[in-house]
Amino acid sequence: MIKKIFFQSIFFNLFFFKEVFGAESGGMPQLNPEFWISQIFWLTLTFGVLYIILSKLILPKISSNLELRKSQIQDNIEAADKRRESSEAKLKEYDNIVLKSKSDAKNILGDAKENALKEINAKKETIEKQIDEEIEKAEQEINVLKKSAPEKINRIAKEMASEILKKLIGSEINNSSISAIVDDLSKKNGDKYYGN
């Protein structure tokens, strides 16, 4: 505050005591009013020109440059966002396609397996049926053979017995007695010979 008052007093005194401080007086050259008017004139001129050129030509350009850059950057960011979104959508689509094709492949595989199993089962069944039929047939044949077997054997036994007796005795023997004996034997020991 004291400094301020000091300077103020010097400053205002100078309006009245020009002669006190000469140019080479050794005091402050700032307080020599010789070139004050010149300084005021040139300050007004240079600062005025500077202000007019800056405010009319240069500053609007800088401001528009800044605005333009801002909007450009904003646009770029928006465009980048859009592209990212579209790429994300495409990625999703791609994932969906992959998932779908995977499930399709699974389905196809399952179907094929099922079909194959079905076919195999059907073939198995028919083959088993055929086998069963053939087995049945064979069993029937065997049964028929089995049933006819004692008769044949009896007959063979009768013939053989009559032949053997003929050779032993040398005369004909009543066939009916031989068959009676064989029948009797086969009835007695049939179980032992033929099973069942």
């Binding site: 400094k3 301020k4 300077f7 103020q8 400053f11 140019a23 050794g26 005091g27 402050m28 050259p29 700032q30 307080l31 020599n32 009013p33 010789e34 070139f35 004050w36 008017i37 010149s38 300084q39 005021i40 004139f41 040139w42 300050l43 007004t44 240079t46 600062f47 020109v49 500077l50 202000y51 050129i53 800056l54 405010s55 030509l57 240069i58 500053l59 350009k61 800088i62 401001s63 528009s64 440059n65 800044l66 333009l68 850059r69 450009q72 950057i73």
Partner: protein, 244 residues
């Protein structure tokens, strides 16, 4: 050059004496550095605004950083109403800054170390701000001198103090800049003189001091330009937004 540290502030005529009526408006070294500062500002900012590339080059970046710096300073201190005065405050800040910075080059002249220059600037700001205040608020602008919430007893005293402080604004504004520049440059000159007088043996200490002072003075040159501009913003804020 004499050892007198004040000779660096002397104004002398360059070229012929020009007179308009009784007024001497000769071109002086002070005028020269005003012209140089203004031209430097115009050249730098013209180059910085010429081309608009998305990735600014160095000079464009400089111009744009200065622009946003000043615009932020104004909007922070005086609000959005001060937008029409942006060009003026920008020019003022740049002019003072460049004058201060050119003064830091050896053998140059510091325009802002002259009280008449800073006083004309400050007086213009003071008158302009007062006129703006009266245009915006009419006689309501006088409410600036009556702070709210002051006891009635103290009011006359406060009003007188407020009026004095308001009227001393141009003086404090101009003297702050002028005294800072003058004191800094004088001190540098004094230490420079010590380097010479102490010679090779003892001159190293003032030399290193002088180097440190140069850094400090560059800081002060920027800071004083900033203070000058921000005080203008604050005065403008008073005129635009009365008591808020």
């Amino acid at each position: 050059m004499a050892a007198n540290p004040m000779t660096q502030f002397e104004v002398y005529r360059i070229g012929p004496e020009i007179k308009i009526g009784a007024f001497d408006i000769s071109f002086t070294n002070a005028s020269l550095f005003m012209v140089i500062s203004s031209l430097a500002i115009l050249v730098i900012f013209n180059l910085g605004s010429k081309k608009n590339s998305l990735l600014p080059n160095k000079i464009q970046l400089l111009a744009e950083i200065s622009y946003t710096f000043v615009s932020k300073m104004i909007s922070d201190t005086a609000g959005s109403k001060a937008k029409p005065y942006f060009s003026f405050i920008f020019s003022l800040f740049m002019f003072v800054l460049f004058c201060n910075m050119f003064g830091m080059i050896p053998y140059t002249f510091t325009v802002t170390s002259h009280i008449i220059v800073t006083f004309v600037l400050a007086a213009f700001i003071f008158i302009a701000v007062t006129v703006i205040g009266f245009i915006k608020h009419g006689f309501g602008y006088l409410k600036l001198f009556v702070p709210s919430g002051v006891p009635i007893v103290l009011l006359p005293l406060i009003v007188i103090i407020e009026i004095i402080s308001y009227l001393s604004r141009p003086i404090s504004l101009s003297v702050r800049l002028f005294a800072n520049m003058m004191a800094g440059h004088t001190m540098m000159k004094v230490f420079g003189g010590f380097v010479i007088s102490l010679g090779v043996v003892g001159g190293w200490l003032p030399l290193s001091f002088s180097v440190a002072l140069t850094g400090l003075e560059i800081l002060v040159a920027f800071l004083q330009a900033y203070v000058f501009a921000i005080l203008t913003c604050i005065y403008l804020n008073d005129a635009l937004n009365l008591h808020h």
